[in-house]
Symmetry: C2
Subunit: 367 residues, 2 copies
DNA sequence: CTGAAAGCGCTAACAG
DNA sequence: CTGTTAGCGCTTTCAG
């Protein structure tokens, strides 16, 4: 017979069961288990957590009793004593975007596997520095660690973070203090443009985004730097007028492409800094009757699901891995293992599909 | 002068500061504040939480001292005493999908506003019933409530949930016990097809998805039912062979559309049960040289960002509101307000763009 | 190897 | 109005 919970060890407040047909189950506490197993709560605690110094037989008995009682430690209650919450937070600028939802998904999978809960918090108006501080402030002692994904952190904020007992890992942003998932945006820009150069293109347009504060992780800036370097290596100088702002959205990409294609000397190829902007480019090209890839080669970044469907050549970033890698680094750090190990994201990878084609000197349009 | 933390009230373990240049700040506890303000901890607690029975002057003083000490209550520590975690969880089948990331975003915004933390947990293989139970089990006592978004709950699971002190709200799924954000999928199907009928279409294809367990929220089934009803009202009978499975993905929609359009009697209009499938339809049509909307009208569901860009007519669902509405209902319930109020999601709304056109008896293709 | 006891930081009666 | 006294459920020395 399973040990019963009929007589709880401590006096209960005798609250009358609510109107529900069956009263809510009184959850077994560690004390119930101790009583039933004939040991002390300390032993139960040790036994169940796999700590040493517990006789095998005792441990087995405790485990069995716990199982029968369906006992589960109340993690929230153990927090004050253990000083850990078994929870981490991921801070993102917004969660309903392709990129960040994938980052969160990756982090969630890793955390779940290790028994950590994942709190998501969005720091929407990253413009307001105070937002970030307030966010961390609110998280204080609620989580063991936090992942900042592309959230700009000011020096004072980083400094402030140091004073908290908090594991920190960043994605994109680098702090010189915390491990960072370093996305090599320069390399990404290089790879994309090298591919276009290999195909013989020399007149290349770029769909970029707002230049960010250079003090922080400047994603568009770095990618464009890479593109510039690749061009230079081929003896071509980047024409700044060929860089249009696509704001990292589909519609922005469309507008920017319309702009580039209506020049007197339209580019023969376009490098979109994100797949979503590339989608916009596809729409713009269609509107103008420009054939991709015969008249215009197009390459994006990300490898969004839709990219495959429309045959978009792209630089694949395994985004979910960004989140997963960050989470692993954080958990490693929290578990006291070598926390200095830099989390390394997967290499960006060129995925050639059908949106890029060898440049032909004789432009079809002029034929 | 600000009260100092130099002499903490209780004996400290004297842990030596870590190797960090500046030692981690010893966080002020309620006891520090009490000492500094010359009151008891109970008073501090009351004062800071805005409880009654605190003299205005006392409260002001306590608040001031707390501010100076940068005191912040340790919510985790208050859990055991207060019995609340100020945290809710949202359980989704997957987080990196357009729909669910928006649901989570909506819920997050509401929770953040009310000071609740949001835990995301994905129940990937919903096929395994035990997954869901295990998920809830793990959440027990870690959260005050949970939102199940389109997560199929078996009767036993619902029954099991009742025995836990847990606020529950569902999206999609109905339990007869918990408030549900009821998505009127029948109405959605009806609206879409009515629009096509209004334009004179009678031969309508449908891009659907796997029929789900009818015992649960059968999204594709309900939408098709609605479509069927609308057709019937116009004296048309739904041709089952005109319903193709698009699996709710872009590529699935493309495949299904290729199939429909290669019939000897292709539909003159297609109702895609989701925008993403509609995107696939756009691709398929282009591949086959079928002009949208002149030769084929197309309508989707969701109002995905990309829908606007490509001019897709659609039934808008304000998805983030699904999450927000659920969260509001849950918080209402947790705060003891009228928890019986059904959370009502925004009405679906027909957004006419350029992908649908009046049917012309003389098919261009046969001209 | 095990138990007793002392908290973790805060809240919640219950007296004043 | 305010302080005192118990804990919440678990972990952790420190003895045995």
């Amino acid at each position: 017979m399973a040990p019963s919970l009929v007589a709880p060890p401590r006096a209960y407040c005798g609250r009358v069961a609510e109107s529900a047909p069956r009263p809510a189950i009184e959850r077994a506490t560690i004390e119930h288990v101790a009583l039933a197993a004939g040991v002390s709560v300390a032993t139960v605690s040790r036994a169940l957590r796999g700590l040493p110094n517990v006789a095998a037989a005792t441990r087995a008995r405790v485990q069995e009793v716990a199982r029968q009682l369906d006992y589960r430690a109340d993690t929230a209650a153990s927090r004050p004593a253990a000083g850990r919450t078994d929870t981490v937070a991921v801070v993102v600028p917004m969660i309903n975007s392709w990129y960040f939802s994938n980052v969160v998904a990756g982090a969630e999978a890793v955390c779940a596997e290790s028994g950590y809960d994942l709190l998501v918090v969005s720091a929407p108006t990253a413009a307001t520095r105070h937002e970030v501080i307030a966010t961390v402030e609110a998280l204080h002692r609620r989580v063991d660690g936090v992942i900042f994904a592309e959230v700009p952190l000011a020096v004072e904020e980083v400094e402030d973070l140091r004073h908290r007992r908090l594991g920190v890992v960043t994605i994109g942003q680098e702090t010189r203090i915390y491990p960072a998932v370093r996305i090599d945006n320069g390399r990404i820009g290089e790879m994309a443009v090298e591919h276009l150069l290999d195909l013989g293109h020399r007149h290349i347009g770029i769909l970029g985004g707002q230049a960010e504060d250079p003090a922080h992780s400047d994603v568009p800036g770095r990618r464009i730097d890479g593109a510039r370097a690749a061009l230079a290596a081929a003896g071509v100088q980047l024409d700044p007028t060929l860089v249009a702002n696509g704001a990292f959205t589909v519609d922005g990409g469309r507008q920017a492409t319309l702009e580039l294609l209506s020049r007197s000397d339209p580019p023969t190829a376009i490098f979109a800094l994100s797949d979503e902007m590339a989608f916009g480019a596809v729409l713009a090209a269609r509107e103008l009757g420009v054939d991709i890839p015969r008249e215009l080669s197009l390459i994006g970044v990300d490898d969004h699901e839709v990219a495959q469907v429309i045959g978009l050549t792209t630089i694949r970033q395994r985004v979910a891995e960004h989140g997963a890698v960050a989470a692993r680094a954080l958990l490693r750090r929290l578990s006291g293992e070598d926390g200095s190990l830099e989390p390394v994201p997967p290499e960006p990878e060129l995925i050639v599909r059908t949106s890029t084609l060898r440049y032909r000197a004789v432009d079809i349009r002029s034929a």
